[in-house]
């Protein structure tokens, strides 16, 4: 039994089947993006063990095809196992080992990118600055204590906890939170509409609001706007139901003798430095509206390291700083006086480069070994 398992995991057939599955997966996942959108297709096809079929009208999830993690994981196991079984140490096969190690590094690097990388956006208007970026897909409920003289204390509750519902407490929060309703995507209206229900909340936004839940968005040019009702329970036992929404301004409130803000907002990533936008340029070819170049001239200010320098971020010239990469991504289209920088934090960004170098070096080694051997044979009488 053990021998059969060992043979199965070390077989070339398994590698071929897995590579074929990978091909199908990439094709299917690419086509599925039309219906599901990029993020959902990535999650369902590539960041999963299986692709599931959901029969209509049922909550069943039936696995019908291996997902990206399963295919990649099995390939990794196959690679290791085959290496153990077939590899014989020696300079002659060093190239093979390097190629395999490169592929392993590539697989692990991609897995690390999936797990550890974050992508967010920093929006800055000319003349102003920002020291945080915001996620385009993740949200948080922020309870901000604004009573401090120099600092604000933020208690950030991730959306995943809100979506689970139930009671949330933290020693730094002046109240407990009970999530009564949470919509991952929603529509709010100031008037009754068919399909909308009146919001049953105590916070006075000055008018009755109607809302409805929406399915998660699948297009790239829109994003989910969550809403929910959270019940704030004071230590004395008093409670009030509050409407929070990504479409509403932060709620100003007091608890005890302190002032707080409650905001459902895109997840923020604060930086130990700030970028001051000096100038955004959208150059066009003379006499046309054809874009020629987008660039942001920013001043990077970091007090703790005494840094204060100017940097120009262009489309293909990102700023790499403090482990993050700032790409020129978009701009404020109303007056072209604001920039949008994509901020990518990917600890594994170097692994594909190392992997490719390893694979290339392995191939060169292997090729040269054969070439030299062949040439030596030809020389010998």
């Amino acid at each position: 039994m053990l021998e059969a398992t060992y043979k199965f995991f070390t077989s070339v057939r398994l590698a071929v089947v897995l590579l074929a599955c990978g091909l199908i997966l990439v094709f299917w996942g690419t086509i599925a993006q039309v219906k599901l959108g990029l993020y959902q297709a990535q999650n369902e096809f590539f960041r999963s063990l299986f692709i599931y079929w959901h029969p209509a009208g049922s909550s069943l999830r039936i696995p019908i095809f291996p997902g990206g993690y399963l295919v990649g994981g099995l390939l990794l196991v196959n690679l290791f196992a085959a290496h153990l079984r077939y590899y014989k140490p020696g300079l002659k096969r060093l190239g093979i080992a390097m190629i395999h190690l490169g592929v392993v590094l590539l697989l692990l690097g991609q897995f690390a990118t999936d797990m550890l990388s974050t992508e967010s956006y920093m929006r800055i208007r000319e003349g102003s600055y920002s020291n945080f970026s915001e996620s385009n897909s993740r949200w948080e409920l922020a309870v901000v204590d604004v009573s401090g003289a120099t600092d604000d204390k933020v208690v950030a509750i991730p959306e995943s906890l809100l979506a689970k519902g139930g009671e949330l407490a933290h020693p730094e929060m002046p109240f407990k939170l009970r999530v009564k309703t949470y919509f991952v995507n929603s529509d709010l209206r100031g008037q009754p509409f068919q399909g909308f229900e009146p919001v049953q909340a105590d916070n006075s936004t000055g008018q009755q609001i109607w809302w409805r839940s929406l399915p998660k968005t699948t297009t790239m040019d829109t994003r989910d706007v969550p809403s929910g009702i959270v019940e704030l329970i004071e230590p004395a036992g008093r409670s009030q139901a509050i409407l929070v929404s990504g479409n509403l301004a932060p709620l100003q409130m007091t608890a005890g003798d302190k002032a707080y803000q409650l905001a459902l907002r895109p997840t923020r990533y604060y930086k130990p430095f700030r970028l001051h936008l000096l100038d955004f340029r959208f150059d066009r070819y003379a006499g046309t509206d054809t874009p020629k170049n987008f660039s942001s001239r920013v001043r990077l200010e970091r007090a703790d390291k005494g840094e204060d320098r100017e940097v120009t971020i262009r489309m293909n010239e990102p700023l790499r700083y403090a482990g993050e990469t700032f790409f020129q991504a978009d701009w404020d289209k109303t007056d072209e006086k604001g920039t949008v920088l994509q901020v990518v934090d990917n600890p594994g960004w170097l692994t594909p480069y190392f992997a490719c170098v390893l694979v290339a070096a392995g191939m060169i080694w292997q090729f040269m070994t054969h070439l030299i051997g062949f040439a030596a044979k030809r020389k010998s009488p």
């Binding site: 692990l108 929006r123 604004v146 604000d152 100003q252 002032a259 604060y270 949008v340």
Partner: protein
């Protein structure tokens, strides 16, 4: 062999790690958010200010700190007897110098009072000491939209190109009682540095100003390849409209009045006339929704170069600025594609542009 195994273990631990509540401190000035592109879903959170200036003051007894807000650098809440409330906001705004009469009239409109002439409005102002600097103060009493008696006391002082506004607003009796404390508060204010002033919210018409329609010659153009062609009327200025608009024009009127024409398109019927008219009414003008019969009654069909277009007109308050606004909308279907034309802005300017807008829509070639 050990390296990949350890890496895998670390990654798996990362996978299994659940997201948790985070607590962190941010410098106060960082709370003020940099401006967002218009149309971004997060614009509802408001535009922040570029930098929080170092403002110090003596807080009167009974006032509760409300912290910075959408445009203000700081604010206070005041509670009085019989559940009465009032708020104080401190807001720096750029380019407001010399527009004091306009400010007076803006607050008069807010409490349902008629506008005054610039001379009469200027007489409402009296001098006040704001942190040792000369300032001006005025007060206005009126009714809130729900009929409650309210009062607004506003003080302002110029520092460089920035005007600092201090506004006490709330239930009339409480505001009257708190005015002495407010004046004392004004005297205690110290601004350590001049900050970049707050920008008006996206889409907010410039306050004051003397811009007038530009006398640009009409120029035929087709803004995007494959789209319709039209003649841009004199005084309309094309601006980037963002990814959801096919084209956008702004129109400047007398006294800072502004309007914008948006052109958008959608496959099929674009959700239908009723849904789109109600979207304009409810979401943009704060009006009640119309029934299908209302839409039929209120709309008119006009012959155009490409066939027919349906026009509809409505007035309310701009949901983003609270200022009176008029929308003149038109829709037409061409080759299975519905085109929406929307003129929205100052009611007087919209009325003046009605004929030009209608002619523009009628003459578009698809």
């Amino acid at each position: 062999m050990q390296f990949p195994a350890i890496t895998l273990a670390i990654l798996l631990a990362q996978v299994c790690r659940a997201e948790d509540i985070k607590v962190y401190h941010v410098p106060k000035e960082a709370s003020a958010k940099a401006g967002l592109p218009s149309g971004h879903p997060d614009t509802a959170h408001g535009h922040g200010i570029a930098a929080s200036p170092k403002i110090t003051y003596t807080k009167p007894e009974g006032w509760t700190e409300a912290g910075p807000g959408e445009m203000r650098v700081t604010g206070f809440n005041i509670s009085g007897p019989n559940d009465s409330t009032a708020q104080v906001a401190v807001t720096p705004l750029a380019d407001m110098k010399g527009k004091e009469p306009f400010i007076v009239n803006m607050w008069r409109q807010q409490v349902g009072l008629d506008e005054l002439s610039p001379e009469a409005a200027a007489k409402e102002l009296s001098p006040v000491d704001i942190g040792g600097d000369p300032g001006q103060i005025f007060e206005i009493a009126g009714k809130s939209p729900d009929g409650k008696a309210i009062k607004i006391v506003t003080a302002m002082a110029n520092r460089g190109s920035t005007t600092w506004f201090y506004k006490l607003q709330g239930d009339e009796a409480l505001v009257t009682a708190q005015k002495p404390a407010f004046v004392t508060f004004l005297k205690s204010v110290k601004i350590a540095e001049t900050a970049a002033p707050a920008e008006l919210p996206s889409g907010h018409p410039p306050i004051g100003g003397t811009s007038s329609p530009s006398a640009q010659p009409s120029a035929p153009m087709s803004p995007r390849e494959g789209g319709p062609s039209w003649t841009v009327p004199a005084g309309w200025k094309e601006v980037p409209g963002g990814e959801f608009l096919f084209a956008k024009f702004t129109i400047a009127g007398d006294g800072g009045a502004q309007a914008a024409v948006n052109v958008s398109t959608s496959a099929g019927d674009g959700g239908g006339l009723l849904a789109n008219v109600n979207r304009w009414r409810v979401m943009q003008l704060g009006l009640g929704a119309w029934s299908e019969a209302d839409v039929l009654k209120q709309s008119k069909t006009v012959e155009t170069v490409g066939g027919q277009a349906t026009f509809v007109e409505m007035s309310g308050k701009d949901a983003r600025t609270g200022q009176p606004a008029t929308i003149i909308g038109a829709t037409t279907t061409q080759n299975g594609q519905t085109w929406f034309y929307k003129l929205m802005g100052d009611p007087k300017l919209a009325a003046a542009q009605r004929e030009t807008f209608t002619k523009f829509v009628k003459e578009v070639k698809y």
